[in-house]
């Protein structure tokens, strides 16, 4: 029985066995077949790194064992019957049916078993819901198609974009170790602290899913949901968006770096400084090179998934920017398009408004970049002040 093997292997990996006897059995199997221990990872939930995930892991192993026992029991009876009570062996059919006692017994027993499953599950639910008294609160916002993390206690935040190069995804280049599960800026949290997550979305429903932490919470536009996690150890843990959210749904990774308290403090200080620096002087005049270099980054992070790195767009779905009338026409029109998005028949389109997501400098940079890339050679330079003027 395939299932049974899988469960046995699954149980071995359990670091926190709930039923002690089962751990014993599992340990025995590990001793017998040591080679399987390594492979076990593939057959069970990810190794838990938070107390909640540990509870979930143990609960799953516990339930699985119950299921395996019932499964083996029921199907031993069935397969024995298939083996013994066949016409080819000359077995005569009995004609019994309806037995109230038997029927009551096999209704009550499953019910009792369910009670044994429900009790630990309920306990875990209550623990999962306890978001009170956090040490740190991070607001997580999903948007098509990236996550952003706002450290509400420290007044800064940033976007976390997929880092895997397009060449690896589309052109068959050798995949890196963390293919699709790597970001430019991971979420960073301290170990051993209770982190409260406020999860929301700016467009469609996403889901913030970090399996090793036992957290999955839908990010719903217009609503803020909360959840929490507390890591036992440092390390880097990976997940991805779990709710279908459009074409780049598979390219919305979540990476959480858990640092020791000291390292986290260091990271926090650096980040605050960087955040201050990033709040650039709005009146500074930027030169073309600076703007194009910055614009290229902004473009790659925000625009390239639809309009493509080549600027050619996707025929029928996303317009090309290369040679586009908007991009080569009057610059104020393009700036307004980027700021306010494209609204057709009163409904927002895939070209969303960027005014709340990108700063004046970012928009100036990306507009300058698109007006001077590929076959577009307007030679125009857009300054942040112009964007600011168009915002009203």
């Amino acid at each position: 029985m395939k299932r049974r093997g899988a469960m046995a292997r699954g149980a071995m990996k359990s670091a926190h066995p709930l039923p002690k006897k089962m751990a014993g059995t599992a340990a025995l199997v590990v001793a017998l077949v040591p080679a399987l221990a390594q492979a076990a990872k593939e057959y069970n939930l990810q190794a838990p790194v938070t107390p909640i995930a540990t509870q979930i892991f143990d609960l799953h192993v516990y339930i699985m064992w119950i299921c395996v026992v019932i499964f083996v029991g029921v199907f031993s009876v069935m397969f024995y019957s298939i083996f013994a009570h066949r016409k080819s062996k000359g077995h005569q059919a009995a004609q019994f049916h309806e037995n109230t006692l038997v029927e009551v017994v096999w209704t009550v027993i499953p019910f009792l078993i369910l009670v044994f499953m429900a009790v630990p599950a309920t306990r875990t639910i209550l623990a999962m819901k306890d978001t009170a008294v956090p040490d740190l609160t991070v607001k997580i916002t999903g948007s098509q198609w990236k996550w952003s993390y706002d450290y509400l206690d420290h007044g800064f935040g940033y976007y976390s974009n997929l880092k895997t190069p397009v060449a690896q995804i589309e052109e068959g280049e050798p995949k890196g170790e963390h293919y699709l599960l790597e970001v430019d800026e991971p979420m960073v949290v301290p170990a051993g602290k209770k982190i409260r997550l406020l999860i929301t979305s700016s467009d469609v429903i996403h889901a913030w899913f970090l399996p090793a932490a036992g957290v999955q919470q839908d990010a719903i536009p217009g609503f803020v949901r909360d959840d929490w996690m507390k890591f036992d150890k440092t390390g880097t843990f990976r997940g991805q968006c779990a709710k279908i959210c459009g074409k780049e749904h598979g390219y919305m990774p979540i990476v959480v770096e858990v640092k020791s308290a000291d390292d986290y403090a260091k990271w926090l200080a650096e980040h605050k400084k960087a955040a201050l620096a990033a709040a650039d002087d709005p009146n500074k005049t930027w030169d073309v090179k600076e703007l194009i270099a910055r614009g290229e980054k902004v473009y790659a992070a925000n625009c390239a998934s639809c309009h493509q790195p080549t600027g050619k767009g996707v025929a029928g779905a996303f317009p090309a920017l290369d040679g586009s009338k908007v991009v080569t026409g009057p610059k104020d029109d393009q700036i307004k398009t980027v700021l306010n998005g494209v609204v057709r028949n009163g409904q927002p389109t895939a070209m969303v408004a960027w005014k709340s997501t990108l700063s004046d400098i970012d928009i100036a940079a990306v507009v300058t970049y698109t007006r001077n890339s590929w076959s577009n050679h307007t030679g125009e330079v857009i300054q942040p002040a112009e964007v600011k003027a168009d915002r009203s």
Partner: protein, 603 residues
């Protein structure tokens, strides 16, 4: 639809005869005969099964390796969405209606369905719906791509393919409603004398309950997709947070339809399996009454568990706990069913022709799906498995190895009666074993993928998921090809199969299998029927004993409890809002009415 010529050539093995009817297509279009319409339903659903299957294979081909090789992510999402819709509304549901059309009148001794012409309409709506749904691939922006669940706001964002999908869902819904009204009126009103409720074959019982569920929930689906439509085009904000709506409300409505829908797809299969097992065990079904009650309880519970599809939206702990408990409860009647089937086999005199193999395969794998369902019902575990491949594995175990396998079994079981010809047993066995093996190769590894954290509906995945995805893709192609054996076996049987004996399975004992159309007139129930119907009118009618009723009363009481509970749950889920007050009040009134009616019934 290309289905018409197909139906034609293959429907009855009378194609040579048919050559003498030049206007033959019109006869299929205008037929009001329940058997013809059943045949049309079954061929239609098989064609849609192949269409949806091809989409599934495209999906599996893309997922064979990490990276994007064959399709763009946007098109991948469209394939995923339409695969789901086609399989649910185009393949599984029409197939179940096809079985009902063929078998229900035969099994209860009715001359035809109650509304023969409406029966014709309800079928012929389907090809139009299918064309609408599939043509969405060629409109600008492509087909719907938000998953078959059509969650807003994503579904509000996409192009006109979504509108076509909404219309297609409306038409299919109308077809389902007409079909189920027909079935429910036929079963209730047109049973032969002596065919009391508790003598009806289980297949008829399961379909009675299915039709009841369909009538209850189809308007909910229609309302949900209409609200999507008006949100998309007419400026309403039912599900738009910016306009004061709530995207999660759609999920509540959708799953309020969606969960009974799950049982709509599985209950007829329970009925088929409960017909096949006793026939090949040569032994009566162990607990007929408890099977009926179990089916009824599953139907009632199906109205109370919808939010287990939404454990990650962030509902209060009380809501999660309630929905977890009720969901777990479903395991009880389901277990009762499995025990009953096993007890029916126990000490029988079994043979293992193809229908029996599919029925045993059904029990075995449906139980696997049932256990994974139990695992998923536990909120904490669901949190780490929700929207992962574990869920994909779970519902394919219950829908493919569950519903579909039972349907295959049903086809092999009844084909000799329907076509008068026997299928090739060797081909049937090949079909079963290849399907069984490849099915498990395809879907079992998906449990591991889900446990390891691979989300569903992604066109590309991290490298650690590669091995199992490769295995699953290979299995999927094997499973797809295995279905060609089925097509060949059926075509061969109806074209050139040897004539089937009047009673093809020696253990079978239901009314239909002794249908006089096949020449055998020794009938259990019909004998009584005959006396009543053909007696001389000058003789006094003997009074028919007024029994029936006790079961209906029980069903009504249970139903009223369900409705009142539902009200409570809605109130609990939304406690704090003024809507809760209205909800509680409304349900209190309904509860009061129900109690009043029931007291009346008792008298």
């Amino acid at each position: 639809m290309s289905s018409i010529p197909h139906d034609h050539a293959a429907g009855h093995g009378v194609d040579h005869e048919h050559a003498h009817h030049p206007g033959g297509i019109m006869r299929w279009i205008t037929t009001t005969n329940h058997k013809d319409i059943g045949t049309l339903y079954l061929w239609f659903s098989f064609i849609m099964f192949l269409v949806g299957g091809v989409m599934a294979l495209a999906i599996r081909a893309e997922l064979f390796q990490p990276g994007l090789q064959l399709v763009e992510p946007e098109f991948f999402n469209q394939l995923n969405t339409v695969h789901g819709l086609v399989m649910i509304f185009g393949a599984i549901m029409p197939a179940a209606v096809g079985f009902a059309n063929w078998q229900v009148p035969l099994m209860i001794g009715a001359p035809d369905m109650a509304f023969a012409r409406m029966n014709n309409w309800s079928f012929w709506l389907l090809p139009f719906a299918a064309v609408l749904l599939l043509s969405s691939f060629i409109v600008p922006g492509g087909a719907a791509s938000a998953g078959w669940t059509l969650y807003p706001p994503l579904s509000v964002q996409t192009g006109m393919g979504m509108d076509l999908t909404i219309f297609a869902v409306h038409i299919m819904g109308a077809s389902s409603i007409m079909g189920s009204i027909n079935i429910i009126t036929t079963i209730l009103n047109m049973r032969a004398p002596g065919m009391t409720m508790m003598k009806m074959p289980l297949f008829v019982w399961t379909w009675l309950i299915t039709a009841y569920l369909l009538i209850a929930v189809m308007p909910v689906l229609a309302g949900a997709v209409t609200m999507l439509l008006t949100d998309r085009h007419f400026g309403t904000s039912f599900f738009n947070a910016a306009g004061g709506g709530d995207p999660v409300l759609f999920q509540h409505i959708f799953w309020f339809f969606g969960h009974p829908e799950v049982y709509i797809m599985i209950l007829p299969s329970f009925g088929i399996v409960s017909t096949i097992i006793p026939a090949f065990a040569r032994k009566p079904l162990f607990g007929y009454a408890s099977m009926v009650y179990a089916t009824g309880s599953i139907a009632i519970l199906s109205f109370l568990v919808w939010a287990h599809h939404m454990f990650t939206v962030g509902m209060p702990a009380a809501g999660q706990v309630f929905f977890m408990y009720v969901t777990m409860l479903i395991a009880v009647p389901t277990a009762v069913k499995v025990f009953n089937w096993v007890a029916t086999m126990w000490k029988g005199s079994m043979t293992f022709e193809t229908p029996m193999l599919f029925a045993i395969g059904f029990i075995f794998m449906f139980t696997v799906g049932g256990f994974t369902g139990l695992v998923l019902s536990l909120v904490p575990v669901d949190i780490v498995l929700h929207d992962t491949y574990y869920v994909v594995a779970h519902f394919h175990y219950v829908l493919v190895a569950g519903s579909l396998f039972a349907f295959f079994g049903g086809i092999y079981y009844w084909l000799p009666k329907w076509s008068g010809r026997m299928y090739d047993e060797t081909l049937g066995k090949w079909h079963f074993w290849t399907s069984f093996v490849f099915f498990n190769i395809t879907f079992f590894p998906m449990h591991f993928l889900g446990l390891a954290g691979m989300p569903r509906r992604v066109p590309d995945y991290a490298t650690q998921f590669t091995d199992w995805n490769e295995v699953a893709s290979i299995g999927a192609f094997g499973f797809g090809l295995s279905q060609l054996i089925f097509l060949y076996a059926v075509l061969k049987a109806i074209r050139s199969g040897p004539p089937a004996p009047a009673r093809p399975w020696e253990g079978s004992d239901t009314l239909d299998i002794r249908d006089p159309a096949a020449g055998e007139l020794k009938r259990i129930y019909l004998k009584r029927n005959e006396r009543l119907m053909m007696e001389h009118a000058t003789r006094r009618e003997r009074p028919v004993p007024a029994q029936r009723g006790a079961n209906m009363r029980t069903a009504l009481i249970l139903l009223s409890i369900a409705v009142v509970l539902f009200g409570g749950v809605i109130a609990a889920g939304y406690s704090g809002g003024s809507t809760a007050g209205i909800g509680v009040l409304g349900f209190a009134i309904i509860g009061f009415l129900l109690v009043a009616i029931l007291r009346n019934v008792r008298r």
